[in-house]
């Protein structure tokens, strides 16, 4: 070893460092991949509906009182939403609003009264840039990969920042234990507890099982949903051939619920 020169020593050092650093990380990457692939514990059901970003179109011309009631009733029954009459404590996932209140920035003194008082079905807009998610301190509310703005009720601490953040009033706080206000419970879906915030979840539990959202099913064609990133989807065809508006779009939340007038 005494005849090793400087050049040879540096060469060996370089090779050693390359094998040591590169080799181990390569092994880690390859090894991890094979381990994860061999035991895929959690899977999607094959019939689950998938999208890059879910969106909804509500055709206001097709809405009447019966359809609005049917949609609200279907949603609230399936998701065990309590019926509390006191407006300060009521819980709502989807509800009826007058046009002038749903679209306040369009209000005009000379707007036709039939448009001003038109019935609009409003719900969580599942914004692409959701302010509620940004303000949630516990990541209880988050945006799924398919664009659905979801709630993890286990993590909600009831701080109500999200309610302050949401410009659509789409979130409700449980001031009381909701259980006593539900007559016909759906045994397949949980309740919420006192002190958490809840809202529409785009029926993630139905989409994951291959079923359309409950309001879409009850709407008799007035509500259309689909993948807005897919140019061949029904929703994109409707949007490319009709004039559609979104609630408070200028705020930059990029809502995913469109309205046809």
């Amino acid at each position: 070893m005494s005849n090793i020169d400087r050049r040879h020593f540096l060469k060996l050092l370089g090779i050693g460092a390359f094998i040591g650093i590169g080799g181990s990380s390569l092994f880690e990457i390859v090894g991890k991949g094979t381990i994860e692939a061999s035991v895929e514990q959690y899977k999607k059901v094959p019939e689950a509906f998938q999208a890059k970003r879910w969106a909804m179109v509500i055709d206001l011309k097709k809405l009447d009182q019966k359809i609005i009631n049917d949609c609200t009733e279907a949603c609230h029954r399936i998701h065990n939403v309590p019926k509390i009459l006191d407006p300060k404590e009521e819980i709502k996932w989807i509800w009826e609003e007058k046009f002038k209140n749903a679209f306040p920035e369009m209000k005009d003194d000379y707007m036709a009264p039939e448009i001003k008082n038109m019935r609009v079905l409003v719900l969580c807009n599942h914004c692409d840039n959701p302010p509620c998610v940004r303000v949630c301190p516990t990541k209880a509310t988050f945006k799924r990969k398919d664009g659905i703005v979801m709630m993890d009720m286990h993590r909600c601490i009831g701080c109500r920042f999200c309610m302050a953040g949401c410009p659509y009033g789409a979130r409700s706080f449980n001031w009381k234990d909701p259980r006593q206000y539900i007559k016909d419970e759906n045994p397949e879906f949980p309740f919420r507890m006192r002190g958490v915030v809840e809202k529409c979840t785009f029926c993630y539990e139905r989409l994951d099982r291959g079923l359309p959202p409950a309001c879409v099913e009850a709407s008799k064609g007035a509500i259309i949903y689909g993948d807005i990133t897919d140019p061949n989807s029904e929703i994109r065809k409707i949007l490319s051939s009709n004039f559609a508006i979104r609630r408070k779009a200028k705020l930059g939340t990029k809502p995913s619920v469109y309205y046809l007038l």
Partner: protein, 139 residues
């Protein structure tokens, strides 16, 4: 030692008092924990299918962690199928999978949870199976 006998008697009384809970309970039977898995729903299943998603030992130790992992997979990733170590898949749901077989919440869940003094908040929101506890008590 001044007043030695007083100190010794005092010590004996003190030790007897402190060890009273242990001496008192010798010979008596301890509270037994017997979680029951003999629900009619499980009895109805054919012998080969009468198995939980994982082994009894695994479930006993890991069920709490597993339920949290299930929750994250379903709520966060939209994955609803659990593939167990045998390759069999199950719908991940406390209400719609676990409690469909274990319909005896009071004897299956509460029995041990009460014994070890833990109060999981599952049932604040999740709907527990309807049990006829009064009827069982009468029989």
């Amino acid at each position: 030692m001044y007043d030695g006998w007083k100190i010794i008697v005092g010590l004996i009384v003190f030790i007897a008092f402190v060890t009273l809970p242990f001496t008192w309970s010798t010979g008596k039977e301890y509270l037994k924990v017997e979680p029951k898995i003999d629900t009619p729903e499980i009895q109805k299943l054919p012998e080969a299918e009468r198995k939980c998603v994982e082994s009894k030992e695994f479930m006993r130790k890991e069920h709490m962690k597993m339920l949290i992992d299930w929750r994250d997979a379903v709520v966060r990733d939209g994955k609803t199928l659990y593939v167990n170590s045998q390759g069999k898949s199950f719908n991940m749901s406390l209400q719609n999978t676990c409690m469909q077989c274990h319909t005896n919440k009071s004897k299956f869940c509460d029995e041990c949870h009460n014994y070890v003094g833990v109060k999981p908040y599952c049932w604040d929101c999740h709907i527990e199976p309807k049990e006829n506890i009064k009827k069982e008590a009468r029989l």
